[in-house]
């Protein structure tokens, strides 16, 4: 799906649709913040851009003024002379050449600087969003659709790029052109200026009408496009089922209905958008004609000493006036769109990061000659909690044992709805604790509390007697190896994916971990072995193979405490038996939390907790629970569906 969303975003890029005005609450404030954001690194650059834009627009205006002079001050007088001298014209043209030259250079200058400004700002935005995103708590990802987060990176930054690199410079230069042309027109002839302004009013009015019409159709088009895309996604996902049920004709039928609707709205939307251009252009032409007629009349009758040359330049101004006006109306729209995007970007940047008030650190340790625990630089397979005592500025070490206690813990994703009630649990070092229960009973949630993906509402969780709030989050998590229910792999080689558990692991360590997880066999059979590149979340591997890689990843990390959340659910029972041997080896001497719906996996646990609707309803080892003939017994004999 990744690819899809991304390229979709690019497909949309640059298509600012007329009439699609997104609502932005406080455009002024966002614009201010955005400007400050850009200016922070590019104050000088922006200053030069502004100067260059002004220069280049002014040279444009001077160029148009020159037309007036060419006819009025040179050609017309020349025609009256017997032997005109062209020297003054040559001089004038030379100075014009200089003006034009400056214009060209400053045009290039501002676009060149703008490249740095826009791309540099985008890079900073991307980096800032990503950095900030990595600090956000899991809750953020639970409560925001992943598609929406992605769209901040793609759609929103893309519209922003358009705004910074195109819309803003164009707006500035349009406004400068409009103002200077307007001033020149007023100087040349006031009545004709009114005629031109009147036509501009008509142009704006018509544009607004057409854009409104087009906007409704574009909304429809987006809606129908969504429906068609949704249908396509569902059908492609279920295509094999379609084949098995010979349902092809029906799905074609349904698709064609949706496709037809999309065509109708898309056709109308595009029609109005396409009409806009010729309408604007020709209203411009009409304005030109009307000005010409009135201007000719004025000059023939010599009203207000209006000359032929004056008319010629006025007509040029008329032309250069209409263009920026329609540009401004288009660009304003895209600025609003971009501000809406900027708003979403800033909202993400304003999200509160995960808080971490912990101060207890996890370090590798060893015993010195005196038999005292001291910090060690190497990996010693002994870990210690390092306490900083602020009062007397001393440091003490405490050996990590893997003792985890839940003391009357309540938890809910929000305060109103508590989903885990009064959880009490004692995991002694080296014990294997299992959780069973139906979907939604809260098994995974409990393990997510240990590593502080979520913080509890009430009660205490202690790790080797330390309240886990006091342990630095990163160190707490480093001490817990987790194999998750959903396996996630990253783009990269198999080797890199396993090494994710321990970045400085040697190839040998990685292979040893893979062997431990029994993944070595299938990896060797991949086209490139350990160097096979996995893409799209390892889509070319089976679910079972992906789980084996995840286990190997945890094995290479070699953590003191392990959490296995349905780690072997997609591995068949026979293979699981073999993996189990490796896992048993891995679990040796470690505290392990296991969640599994296959009860053979958890049978030999020291303590089994049966969860139901967020409460522990039974606890004990396998034999005790079977004896009890309670829920566990029913689950075990298959009388209860646990899913």
């Amino acid at each position: 799906m990744a690819k899809n969303n991304v390229s979709q975003a690019r497909g949309m890029k640059g298509r600012i649709q007329p009439g699609m005005k997104p609502k932005v609450k406080n455009p002024g404030a966002i614009f201010k913040r955005l400007s400050a954001y850009i200016l922070k690194n590019y104050k000088l650059a922006c200053f030069f851009v502004l100067i260059f834009i002004i220069i280049s627009s002014l040279t444009n205006v001077i160029g148009t003024m020159f037309m007036k002079n060419l006819i009025d001050e040179y050609i017309v007088p020349f025609m009256k002379q017997e032997h005109p001298s062209f020297t003054p014209l040559a001089k004038a043209l030379t100075s014009m050449a200089v003006v034009y030259g400056i214009g060209v250079l400053s045009t290039w200058g501002y676009s060149r600087i703008m490249v740095e400004v826009s791309q540099g700002t985008l890079r900073r935005i991307r980096n800032d969003i990503f950095e900030h995103m990595e600090t956000l708590p899991i809750k953020y990802f639970d409560t925001h659709a992943h598609g929406d987060i992605m769209s901040v990176y793609t759609n929103d930054t893309d519209t922003l790029r358009q705004m910074i690199s195109q819309s803003i410079p164009q707006l500035v230069s349009s406004v400068i052109t409009i103002v200077s042309v307007l001033v020149s027109m007023i100087i040349l002839n006031i009545p004709l200026t009114f005629v031109t302004l009147f036509m501009v009013g008509i142009m704006l009015f018509v544009t607004k009408k057409i854009a409104a019409k087009s906007g409704t159709y574009f909304m429809n088009q987006q809606k129908n496009l969504g429906a068609v895309n949704g249908y396509i996604e569902e059908m492609m996902e279920g295509q094999k089922v379609v084949k098995v049920f010979c349902h092809e004709d029906d799905s074609i039928q349904q698709f064609e209905n949706l496709n037809e609707e999309l065509f109708n709205s898309a056709n109308n939307a595009n029609k109005y958008a396409n009409i806009l251009m010729p309408v604007m252009g020709n209203l411009g032409n009409i304005s030109y004609v009307i000005t010409a007629i009135i201007g000719s009349l004025l000059s023939i009758y010599g009203v207000g000493a209006f000359t032929l040359g004056g008319l010629a330049s006025f007509l040029q101004f008329n032309r250069s006036f209409n263009q920026p006006i329609s540009q401004v109306s288009q660009q304003l729209n895209s600025v609003i769109m971009a501000l809406a995007g900027a708003d979403r970007i800033f909202t993400l940047l304003d999200e509160k990061p995960e808080v971490d008030d912990g101060y207890v650190e996890l370090v590798n340790a060893k015993y010195d000659e005196k038999g005292e625990l001291v910090e060690s630089k190497e990996r010693t397979h002994i870990w210690a909690w390092k306490h900083h005592h602020k009062s007397d500025n001393t440091v003490t070490y405490q050996k990590l044992e893997g003792d985890v206690v839940f003391d009357h813990v309540d938890f809910g994703y929000n305060d109103e709805k508590i989903i885990l009630h009064d959880i009490e649990m004692f995991a002694k070092p080296g014990e294997k604790i299992a959780f069973v229960g139906a979907t939604g009973a809260g098994k995974t949630t409990i393990t997510n509390l240990i590593n502080r993906f979520y913080d509890i509402q009430d009660g205490k969780i202690r790790y080797d007697g330390i309240n886990i709030n006091k342990i630095k989050k990163a160190d707490l998590r480093r001490s817990l190896g987790i194999v998750l229910q959903d396996t996630h792999l990253f783009t990269g080689t198999v080797m890199e994916n396993i090494r994710y558990g321990k970045l400085d692991a040697t190839d040998e360590e990685v292979i040893a971990a893979a062997k431990l997880a029994n993944a070595d066999y299938f990896i060797d059979h991949l086209p490139e072995g350990y160097n096979t590149v996995l893409t799209g979340d390892g889509g070319n591997l089976s679910q079972g193979q992906r789980q084996l890689l995840a286990i190997a990843r945890a094995a290479v990390a070699d953590p003191p405490v392990l959490i296995l959340d349905e780690a072997t659910s997609s591995i068949d029972t026979r293979t699981e038996k073999i993996v189990q041997e490796g896992m048993d080896h891995l679990m040796e001497g470690r505290t392990v939390f296991v969640i599994a719906h296959r009860l053979s996996t958890i049978k030999n646990s020291d303590v089994i907790m049966v969860l139901d609707q967020g409460r522990i309803i039974e606890r004990g080892d396998h034999d005790v629970l079977i004896e009890k003939k309670g829920i566990y017994y029913q689950l075990y004999t298959g009388a209860l569906e646990q899913d």
Binding site: F86, N274, E641
Partner: protein, 579 residues
Amino acid sequence: MLKTLLAEIKEYKKDSILTPIFMVLEVIMEVIIPVMMASIIDDGVEKGSISHVVLMGVCMLAVAMLSLTFGATAGKYAASASTGFAKNLRKAMFRNIQNYSFSNLDKYSTAGLVTRLTTDITNVQNAYQMILRLCARAPFMLICAMVMSFSISAKLSLVYLGAIVFLSVALFFIIKNAHPIFLHVFQKYDDLNASVQENVNAVRVVKAYVREDYEVSKFHKASENVYNLFVKAEKILTLNMPSMIFAMNTCILLISWLGAKMVVGGELKTGQLMSLFTYIINILISLMMISMAFVMITMSKASAERIAEVINEKSDLTNGDAPIKTIRDGSIEFKKVNFSYKKENTNYVLRDIDFSIKSGETIGILGGTGSAKSSLVQLIPRLYDTSTGEVIVGGQNVKQYDIESLRDEVAMVLQKNVLFSGTIKDNLRWGNKEATDEEMKRACELAQADEFIQKFPDQYDTYIEQGGNNVSGGQKQRLCIARALLKKPKILILDDSTSAVDTKTDSLIRKAFKEEIPDTTKIIIAQRISSIQDADRIIVLNEGRMESIGTHEELLERSYIYKDVFESQTKGADKNGEE
């Protein structure tokens, strides 16, 4: 590729042809306007003839109105031609995908097909519209403006030729250097965003392994790379506007100088000089447009290729001549079957499969991950063709049947099964469009689904969300079984279809099968030995080969694998549970 795509224009051919025609008409009007303008100045104003000014002015208004009409008409046709073309392309792709066999489908990822049907189509639609609107307009405008300039003054127009050559060369070099970098940067940009997506999805892994800093530094590197490439590409593009302005200004200066002399010499009128200035702008803008269109078209080439690939893909499973439409009974026979997913590959996933099943038998299949259990059963409804050997159903090779008839008689509940958005009834009707409420209820009773359906507030009208996410795994599986039962098939295949159903319900389903559809051949793949141990016979697969076949008791004696699995699953329960 082009031929494939163009063939889909179909009923929009008329619109596709009319668009450039009206575009050309619009251009003609636009070219005439400066001529009339010149005439107003030269013959009207200069000679003091108001009647001429008004006459010409009225004519010009008419021409502008015509120009507007033509432009709007062209826009209208361009819209219907391009969106219609897109509609036909989508239709053609979707239809062809419906014809795909499983092995065709295996070639594409779901996401890949979705992208081709959505984003790629949008790209092609935009490019097509651009072609229709610009590719007639810009070159024609260029030519017209040149012709007009030449008719005014051939000598001065030579200056324009120089400008055209200069700008063409400049644009050519800009595009040639920037284009490959852009292709590269978009690729990198996609990769960057894909890695963000990966991070968002795998946020728990990142956090669990405390890899935030690692990911950030990885991202910074990629982002730096994208930045550098973008700057490199856009740096070249910034030469675009300056070269255009340079060419234009140079022309204006030269024309002013030479033109002034000609006007004074009586060879040219002032109005004509003014129109020359208009034409040079038209000419150079057209040139810019052509270069832009060129870039757009090459950008959408990749999309067009991906679309053509889907349309041109031929289903590799087709009905033979005179296909048989009736299937005698549910007997199945595999004769020395070897099978590989890739045609050329002799590294078979199934080897030497040889067995026969009588109509009405219940067969269990057991084997580890990757033992090719699913591959084996998928050969029965001819979802794939064997590499060598024969699959016989009802006494005939499956290749001789009409595929639809065969699949109607062989109902299969896939391992990775899908419910579609719609009510439970809508989903059940996939099995049989005309199924009555009673029939649906009965099928659900057999599949042990009726009970939980009755407990839903809307019962059989309960809306199932996309992917069936609002029912539990076990419920979903039972609905899928009921859906298959509604076909009233001669052969029913369950590919690990009761894994999430509790053992008691599982056994009730099997009991119902035995009692209610005794004549249907049932093939059950399962991980749980209890699901298959009472089958008539059980096939044990190991790494693509039949390890053994026989009854539960026989296999306990004979098959090491079977015994192993049996013990691993039941030992504990026997010892602790049943005492």
